[in-house]
Amino acid sequence: MKKRIAIAVFATLAAAASAQQVKLEDQIKLRRAAYDMMGYGFGDLAAMAQDKKPFNKEEAEHDADLAVAASTVPKRFFPEGSDKDTKAKPEIWQNRADFDSKMDHMIAEVAKLPAVVRAGDMAAFKKQVGATGQACKACHDKYRAK
């Protein structure tokens, strides 16, 4: 019984900490940092896919893993009202379900990158980079100001 109460208290605290304790300002900072990381990792993969630089498997694996880790972060840090002084459009909160589904789609496409990189099949790799780019674009076109 004591243990169960302890768990319940801990769970409540943890939920409060994750959902409420991060200041709005810091949430914007966190999602931007995640986008920067994703942009760095995915941008490097895209350069390899577009033959702008030679394919380096070790680097590509690191890029892909980094992109995967960062990809799940932004979705958590789009609280209502966090569009001020950012490129986020207010439409995000008017169509939250659609925004979230586009985010989930992007996360799913990024998640396929490490496997195609490790398999080393260049055709599949290029195809997946293209599909991931389109998943990014779907959200940018609708929910990101110029």
Partner: protein, 226 residues
């Protein structure tokens, strides 16, 4: 009934320029909208558009009579007079671009040029960068990317206006403009008078086009990577 003689109004290079630009504009718009792997083609299409525009500017100086800026760039008074005459008589009399259309050509050339040049410095912050984006500051890239996005709709608006004008001239004023841009001839001259049409050699156009292509190649490949 005698068939009125057809007279030359557009030279071959100008017609090829026109239809190539139509095709590339549609292709650029479509590939830009699809994104992903098609962005590589979006960039190539932009280089081709830039080449064509540079060629057209030069051809505006040394091309055949009706292609020259000196022939069709007229003051606002001439444009207003043309519009008045058009409304009053319901007929459109002009050889080559009319004074109103001349301004439209300048506007479209400027807007397309702005689109092609801003694209060189743009970054979609996904996987595509214009070849010169790395040469300038991030603030400049951001401005150019925004310009590239907004100007896209200026171009769509101008294209719509262009099509509406052609439809009006074709169906209301009975001036078959589209055919003239295809085969280069017209019967639609000012009261039967055949205006002088001096044709510039096509080889000169080919030479200029090749020079422009060479310059664009140097800009986006040699200079961009240097």
């Amino acid at each position: 009934m005698t068939v009125p003689p057809r007279i030359r109004v557009w030279d071959l290079p100008t017609r090829i320029f026109h239809w190539a630009l139509v095709a590339l504009a549609v292709f650029s718009f479509t590939t830009g909208k699809i994104g992903g792997d098609w962005m590589a083609w979006h960039l190539r299409s932009g280089y081709a558009v830039l080449t064509l525009l540079l060629f057209r500017l030069l051809w505006g100086l040394v091309g055949s009579t009706t292609s020259r800026f000196a022939h069709f760039v007229r003051g606002p008074r001439a444009a207003i007079a043309h519009a008045r005459n058009l409304l009053a008589t319901g007929t459109a009399v002009a050889f080559g671009h009319n004074p109103l259309g001349g301004w439209m050509i300048l506007l479209m050339l400027a807007a397309f040029l702005l689109q092609a040049v801003s694209g060189l410095f743009s970054d979609d912050e996904i996987a595509t960068q214009g070849p010169l984006a790395a040469k300038v500051s991030n603030a400049m890239v951001s401005r150019m990317s925004a310009l590239h996005s907004y100007n896209e709709w200026v171009l769509v608006g101008l294209a719509a206006l262009h099509l509406a004008a052609i439809a009006t001239y074709t169906f209301v004023l009975r001036a078959p403009l589209v055919g003239a841009m295809v085969h280069g001839t017209t019967v639609h001259g000012p009261s039967g008078a055949v205006r002088g049409f001096r044709e510039s050699p096509t080889w000169l156009a080919a030479l200029l086009l090749a020079t422009c292509a060479g310059f664009v190649y140097w800009l986006v490949v040699v200079f961009a990577r240097g």
